[in-house]
């Protein structure tokens, strides 16, 4: 009910002196938005509920909405039932995502500086070269990379993924950070330099504080893409370096009653992405549209 009244108030504020018919319609549209949100979220809510049911309760038809809750699905996923432990895969994913994100920042920050604050000639061309590499499908370069890794003994090595994920995310990071650094007013930088500040000081004291939220959002988005990646990880890793998404592919074929375990696994492995995504919510569009939309 409180939703309805709030919508009415909002309606009055936005449309001034409109009649009650319009206000009623505003309330209906607000309700519709809520309904859409719930419909889209329902599969995830159901997955969360199923992960907390016992395997027997998870596989009933019609579904048991009010069955007793248990953490058995999670215990089972973490290897209590004698299955493979997910920890090596989770650690590999963490290594690949975190280290590649750090490499991306290390390469993208200076590049973005040379494309915004002290731009090189034809800097837009360079920016669009980065973007164009992102538009070529990864699968087309997969075979040479596989052959290269096989011949150099880098197959099933998590550091190969670090290099590939860095190249996968670098264009996004350069685009995002270019736009964040471009927002730093040149006048402030010049003022600091006139006051005698040297370049490292200017970067640390003037540029960094202004660009910090943008840099953090960029890092979160690169982390999400690396964490999610399946194709390269699937082809280039085996038992040693397998990542969390590759571990999840073990659930593709049904294994008897395993629904609670699948749900627990999917949720645990998605948790870092959900957390990073909600934290970077406002900058998410910008990252996904490669900086084209603010």
């Amino acid at each position: 009910m409180s939703t309805l009244t709030a919508v009415r108030k909002g309606g009055i504020r936005s449309s001034g002196t409109r009649d009650t018919g319009i206000r009623g319609r505003g309330a209906a549209l607000g309700l519709l938005a809520w309904l859409a949100g719930i419909v889209f979220f329902l599969p995830i809510a159901w997955m969360a509920l199923t992960s907390l049911h016992s395997e027997e309760d998870a596989a009933t038809n019609p579904p048991s909405f009010a069955a007793a809750l248990t953490l058995d699905g999670y215990r089972d996923f973490f290897g209590a039932g004698g299955g493979a432990s997910p920890w090596p895969a989770l650690i590999n994913s963490t290594t690949a995502s975190v280290v590649s994100t750090l490499c991306v920042l290390l390469l993208a920050l200076p590049a973005a500086y040379a494309l915004s604050i002290r731009p090189v000639k034809k800097w837009t061309d360079v920016l669009f070269f980065f973007l164009s590499t992102k538009m070529l499908p990864a699968v087309a370069g997969l075979l040479p990379i596989y052959l290269f890794a096989k011949n150099t003994g880098l197959l099933d090595n998590v550091w190969l993924l670090v290099v590939l994920y860095t190249s996968m995310n670098l264009p996004i990071a350069v685009w995002m950070m270019q736009s964040f650094l471009a927002e730093v007013p040149v006048a402030i930088i010049e003022a600091a330099q006139i006051d005698g500040a040297r370049l490292p000081t200017v970067l640390a004291r003037v540029v960094a504080p202004i660009a910090a939220p943008g840099i953090a959002a960029t890092a979160l988005i690169c982390f999400i893409f690396s964490w999610n990646e399946l194709l390269f990880a699937r082809v280039l890793t085996g038992t040693v370096a397998e990542t969390a998404p590759v571990f999840l592919t073990g659930f593709i074929t049904s294994q008897g009653l395993f629904l609670a375990k699948v749900c627990a696994a999917s949720l645990v492995i998605s948790l870092p992405v959900l957390a990073a995504g909600f934290a970077a919510q406002d900058k998410l569009v910008q990252g996904l549209s490669l900086g084209a939309v603010k």
């Binding site: 889209f40 599969p43 019609p62 052959l147 190249s167 909600f278 919510q281």
Partner: protein
């Protein structure tokens, strides 16, 4: 091209002979850019060149001694092989369906969210959650938890109302994959279009309303034209991401039942069938297709980009 290069060449020559400090300064400006640029060229461009070369060879990894130059024969085989041709068709159908459906749904949701109502932030969070599941996890959710004919949620709910109990993946495999992808990509389209809606000028809208324009007129003649470029951008970026989709096809059907798209087929051709030459030729074709989409995408991005730069 020649008009732009000529002055640059002379400038560079002048710098070399007369002003070494100027040239040094130019390199100092370029230096921060070089590591990223060199890294990108080595890791992303060289493999494509290698793919191009391998595509000209008849090369099965199981018979390395029989490797020989085959010219364009692989391309002929790729284009005449019914499986590969089907995968081209599947890729197009999958991409077009998912992009259009999620664009339309995303537009509806963006319009709903562009208004003030209690709990708007929470609804937005609920709506983007599907996009923040690991793609494999989302595909597993649809395959096992929703679609399963015996205990999946869809049939469970149908059972409650006495409905039929279809086997979703077996009877409509491509539609099953498309539905899961639309669910994941609608939030993406919504976010882009919402950003577009919020960049409209409120004064102009208010002025139109004062002049007696109806809601429909404002939507048809002001909002839609303004959104056009955001719609194009969403469609193109969505196409680029979904043409490359591997996770959903691999997880939900393992490429079976006529759902193998090009990335899955390329993967299958070299990973399972070890046909390196064929896989590379197919890969090159994927690249050519992507370049066509990418050319349009770059044009849209660049027009939005120039607008931003000139506004700043």
């Amino acid at each position: 091209m020649t008009t732009t290069t000529a002055p640059r060449v002379t400038a560079a020559r002048r710098a070399r002979t007369a002003e070494p400090p100027g040239r040094l300064r130019a390199w100092a400006t370029r230096a921060p850019l070089l590591p990223a640029l060199v890294f990108m060229i080595v890791v992303t461009q060289l493999p494509f060149v290698a793919t191009l070369v391998i595509s000209l060879f008849d090369w099965n990894a199981l018979y390395p001694d029989a490797r020989r130059f085959a010219g364009l024969a692989n391309y002929g085989e790729v284009l005449t092989d019914p499986d590969l041709r089907n995968s081209v068709l599947t890729t197009i159908v999958l991409t077009v369906t998912v992009v259009l459906a999620s664009l339309v749904l995303g537009l509806g949701l963006a319009l709903l969210l562009d208004r003030k109502f209690r709990g708007r932030g929470l609804v937005r969070t609920l709506l983007i959650a599907p996009f923040l599941l690991v793609p494999v996890a989302a595909a597993l959710l649809w395959k096992h938890v929703l679609y399963n004919p015996e205990y999946g949620l869809l049939n469970g709910l149908l059972n409650l109302v006495g409905g039929p109990q279809p086997d979703w993946i077996s009877s409509t495999p491509l539609l099953a994959i498309e539905a899961s992808l639309v669910w994941q990509w609608t939030p993406f389209m919504m976010l882009i279009l919402l950003a577009g809606l919020q960049s409209r000028s409120h004064e102009v809208m208010e002025a139109a309303r004062m002049d007696g324009a109806s809601n429909w007129q404002i939507f048809r003649y002001m909002t839609l034209p303004h959104l056009r470029r955001y719609l194009e951008l969403g469609a193109l970026l969505g196409s680029i991401y979904i043409v490359q989709n591997f996770d959903a096809v691999f997880t939900i059907t393992q490429g079976g039942l006529g759902t193998a798209n090009l990335p899955y087929t390329v993967y299958q051709t070299f990973y399972a069938a070890h046909e390196n030459g064929l896989a590379s030729a197919a890969g090159v074709l994927v690249v050519i297709g992507s370049i066509i989409i990418a050319t349009f995408a770059l044009r849209v991005v660049s027009s939005l980009f120039r607008e931003e730069v000139s506004r700043a």
